[in-house]
Subunit: 269 residues, 4 copies
C-alpha cells in the first residue's frame, strides 16, 4: 500500500483535478470551503444569489489557484439551479450542501407555510440534489458529500425550530444513506458550526439588538461568551475542515456529525 | 411534601379525572396507550380513520373503566380533525402524537411529493397541533405531550428515509420546546418503539415476502431475530410506559427519547 | 396474551412477591427506591453504613407495606457486604446499584489513590456484584438491574471527574451486558438524576458556600436555577421511576440511560 | 486576519517546529500518527516497549523528514516512562494518549485484578500524564491532546468490557476537561477507530480462529464484513486524521469523539 505523496508537500489531500459543486459558496462558510478545496487543485462551481459576489469569488479563486471556477447564479434550493449546477459540472466528486438559515421565530408564530418553506429549502431540496449525484459517485468510486448544518441539531433551541427541525431531518436521512454509500468510497458527513465570524453572526447580533434592546457591542460580546473558546470561529478553520473531510484519506470517515463550535457542546457524544 | 396515595392502590399515577387526546388510537400502539390511561381514570378522545374501530374502542374503554371515551373519526393529520379533537376536549391534559408510518421506499424513488406528504403528516401536522395546546397546558400547570416515533430516528435505515427523516425533525423541535415548557409542569417526551406485535409488523412481513421471496413465517422469524429480546414487544408494554410518562410523578422527566426496542439499540446513548 | 391485572388496581407492576437488594438505601434516592418497590409488594434488603438508619427504614417499610425488610449494615462497596447482601437474599429479582458520590475536586488535585478509590467504589465493586447475580437472574428468566448514576455522565463537569469518569465506565459495561441479558428477561438500565431534594444537595450547597463565599440560600437558589423545571426533583419521583423500570411490563426496555433532570439536558439524545 | 500560508504548499497544518509526545508509537496506529506529524515538521518523541522498534521508527522518521525523533523505550503506563517522556520533551505541544487494548474476556471471567489493571493502564495512567502537561499547554496557549480510543465506547460489546469500560471513563473525563481548556487554545479530542489494518487485527483474527474454529482467512473475511466500507482502515488514514486534529486550524474543534470506522456506527450521533 502506497502512502500519500507527502514528500513534496505538507499534507496532500489527494484532491488535485477533482471537481466540486458548492451551494451558497459566494460568501461566508461556503466561500471558505470553496477556497480550501480550490487551493488543493479542485475545480469549483461557485453558487450564490448575488451575481457580483459569485463572479468575484470565481475570479479570486481562479486567479489564486489556477483552477477552473464556474459561476452559477441563483437560489440553490430550486430545480432550475440544480440543473444549472449539474450542467456546469455533470460528474462532481464533491458536493457541498449549504443554504441560508431562517430567522429566529418563536414556536407559536411558525405557521404551516413557514414550516413547508423551511423544510423545502433546508431538507427536501438538498436531498433531491443528492439523488441526482449519488449513483454517479458510487459508480465512479469516489464521492464526498458534506452538509453544513448547525450545532443546534444536537442542542435544539426553541427559538430556532425552523432551523434545527429541517436540519435534523436532513442529517438523519444522510446518515441512513451513508451506511451503504461508503462501500463505494462515497462518504457523507455533516459539519455542525456554531458561531463563526461571518455576516450571519452580524445579522444575528442586529436581531438581538432589536429584540432585547442591547447595543451591537453587547450583542457581539454575548456571542463570544456563549462559546467555550471565548472567540468566534474563523471561516478558514471551517474551510480546511471541509477540505480534510473531502480528502482522499478521509474515505474511512462517514456518517459523522462533526462539531466546530469552539468546544461548546455540553454533551458527551 | 406529600407522597402519592400509595396506600389504597399499587402505583397511583395521579391521573384520575385528567383528559387525553390520542391520535390514531383505535388500533395498535395508540389503542394500547388509550387503554393504559383509561384504566387510570383518564377521559379519552379516541381517533382513527375507520369509524367502526373508533366506536368499538370507545365502547370497550368506556365500559371497562367507567371513563368518558369520545370518538373522533378521521385523519388526525388534517386541520378539520384537529378542530374536532379540540372540540371534543378543549383543554387536554395529555396529548398523544401518533400517525401511521410510510411504506419502505428506496431513497432513489422518493420524489418531492412523497417528501412533502411525509413531512406534512409526520412532522408539520403534529407540530401545528402542539401549537394549539401547549399554551393552555402551561397556564394550567399540567401537560404531558408524548410522540410515538420510531427507533430508527436513532439508527436510520436507508430504506426508511420517509419515516426517520420527518420523525427526527419532529423529535428535534419537541426537544427544543421541552426546555422551556418543563418550568410549567408540561413535559414533552418521545417513545421510540421497535417491532411491536401489531398490524404494522404483519404488514411489514408481507412487504418482505413480496420483495425478497421469503415465506411469511420466515419474514416473521427475521423480525424476532432482529430484536435482542428475541421477541416482539407487547402493545400493553408500550401503553403502560406511555401511562407512566404521563403520570403526575413523571413531571421531572422531559425531553427524553425513550427506546422500547427489546434492548436492541447498539449505541451507548 | 393476557394483559396485566388492571381491573383491581391502578397500574399493577407485577412485582408482588419479588425480592430486591438495594445498595445504599437507608436514605435519599436509594430509600425512595426501596419504598416504591416495597409498596408493590417486594421484599427488600435495606443497606447503609449507619445502623440506626438502616433499621428505621426496615421498620418503616415493613410496617407500612407488610413486606419483609432485611437490614444489612455496612459499606456496599466491600466484598463482605456483598456476601451479607446475598446471604440475606440469595436470589434477588431486582438489584439497585448505588453508592455515595465523591466530593468535587479540581482535576489537577486528583491523585492516583483518589482515582483508584473512586473507580473501586463506583465502577469495579458494582460490576463484581453484578457478576454474582446475573447468571441466576438469567436462569430464572427475570431480573431488573438498575444503577443510579448521574446526569453528568452525559454532560461531564471538569470539577466532578471522580464522579462521571467511573460512572461512565460503569454505564458502558452495563450497556454491553444488557445486549445479551435481555434475551433472558433480564433488563439493565441506568437512571441519571440531576439535583434531587436529598441530603446530597444540602451538602453540595455547603461546599459552594465555603468555596465561593455565598450564603446557603444563594447556593440553594443557584441549584434551582440550574434546573429547567425550576425546582429540585422529589425523591419519590425517582423511586416511582425506578419501580416502573423494575416492573414486569418494562421487560422490553433495556440498555437505557433515563435522565431525571427536570428537562435540563441540552443535548438531543 | 491572516489565512494559513497556503500558497507554497497544499494544506499547511501550521505545525512546523512543534513538538509531540506520542505514547505507543513505534508500531500500528501510533506509528502512523507519528509519521503524519513528523511530515509536517513536528519533532517527535517515539515510545514503545521494544527497543528495536522504537529506534527504527526514530531513524526512519528523522531520516525522511529531517525532524528530531527521540526514543523513549518502556511501558507508557508507568510513572518512570512518563518521567522519561517529559525529560525528552518538557513542553510538548501535542500529546497522543495510546495504549494496547486488552484481550477479549467474557464478563463472568473478569476479576478485580483485571479491572484494576485495565483501569490503571487505560484510564488512570493517561489522566495522570495529562495532569502533568495541561497547565503548561494552557500557559503557552497551544495544546493538542488526542486519545486513541475505540469505536466500542459508543457501541459496547459484552466481550470487551475491559476495553470500553476504562476507555469510556477516559473519554468522559477528557470531555469535561475540554470545556475549560479550549479557552486557552488547548483542544482535547478522542478518535475512535474500528478495524484498522494493523497487527491488532491479525491478533484478533488469531483469537477468533482459536475460539471459534474458523480459518485465519475466514476470520479476516469476517472482519471486512463487519465494516460498512467493506475494507479495513489504512493506518495512514488514521495518522492524517490525527495530524489534522492537531493542526493550527483545528483549534475550534474540541471535545469531539471522531469515529474512523468505515461508516459502520449504527447510531445517529
Amino acid at each position: 500500500m502506497k502512502r500519500w505523496d507527502w514528500t513534496e508537500y505538507d499534507m496532500d489531500l489527494g484532491l488535485s483535478g477533482r471537481s466540486a459543486i458548492l451551494m451558497a459558496s459566494s460568501r461566508g462558510l461556503g466561500r471558505a470551503c470553496a477556497e480550501s478545496v480550490a487551493r488543493e487543485g479542485v475545480d469549483v462551481v461557485i453558487n450564490g444569489r448575488t451575481a457580483a459576489d459569485v463572479h468575484r469569488a470565481c475570479d479570486d479563486l481562479g486567479g489564486a489557484y489556477g483552477i477552473t471556477a464556474t459561476p452559477v447564479v441563483g437560489d440553490a434550493t430550486t430545480t432550475a439551479v440544480h440543473d444549472a449546477l449539474l450542467e456546469a459540472c455533470p460528474e462532481p466528486d464533491i458536493v457541498l450542501l449549504n443554504s441560508e438559515g431562517p430567522p429566529p421565530t418563536a414556536f407559536g408564530d411558525v405557521d404551516a407555510a413557514s414550516w413547508n418553506d423551511a423544510l423545502q429549502h433546508t431538507m427536501v431540496s438538498p436531498l433531491l440534489f443528492v439523488q441526482r449525484v449519488i449513483d454517479g459517485m458510487q459508480k465512479r468510486q469516489f464521492g464526498r458529500i458534506v452538509a453544513i448544518s448547525s450545532a443546534m441539531v444536537k442542542s435544539p433551541n426553541p427559538l430556532m425550530s425552523l432551523s434545527h427541525g429541517p436540519r435534523l431531518g436532513l442529517t438523519g436521512v444522510l446518515k441512513g444513506l451513508s451506511k451503504t454509500a461508503v462501500a463505494h468510497n462515497v462518504t457523507i458527513n455533516t459539519i455542525l458550526p456554531e458561531r463563526f465570524d461571518t455576516g450571519r453572526q452580524e445579522q444575528m447580533a442586529r436581531l438581538v439588538m432589536q429584540f432585547r434592546g442591547v447595543t451591537y457591542e453587547e450583542a457581539r460580546a454575548e456571542q463570544l461568551a456563549s462559546i467555550n473558546a471565548g472567540r468566534l470561529g474563523r471561516p478558514e478553520e471551517f474551510g480546511d475542515t471541509f477540505a480534510f473531510v473531502c480528502s482522499a484519506q478521509a474515505g474511512f470517515m462517514s456518517g459523522q456529525a462533526i462539531q466546530l463550535d469552539g468546544g461548546s457542546y455540553d454533551g458527551l457524544f
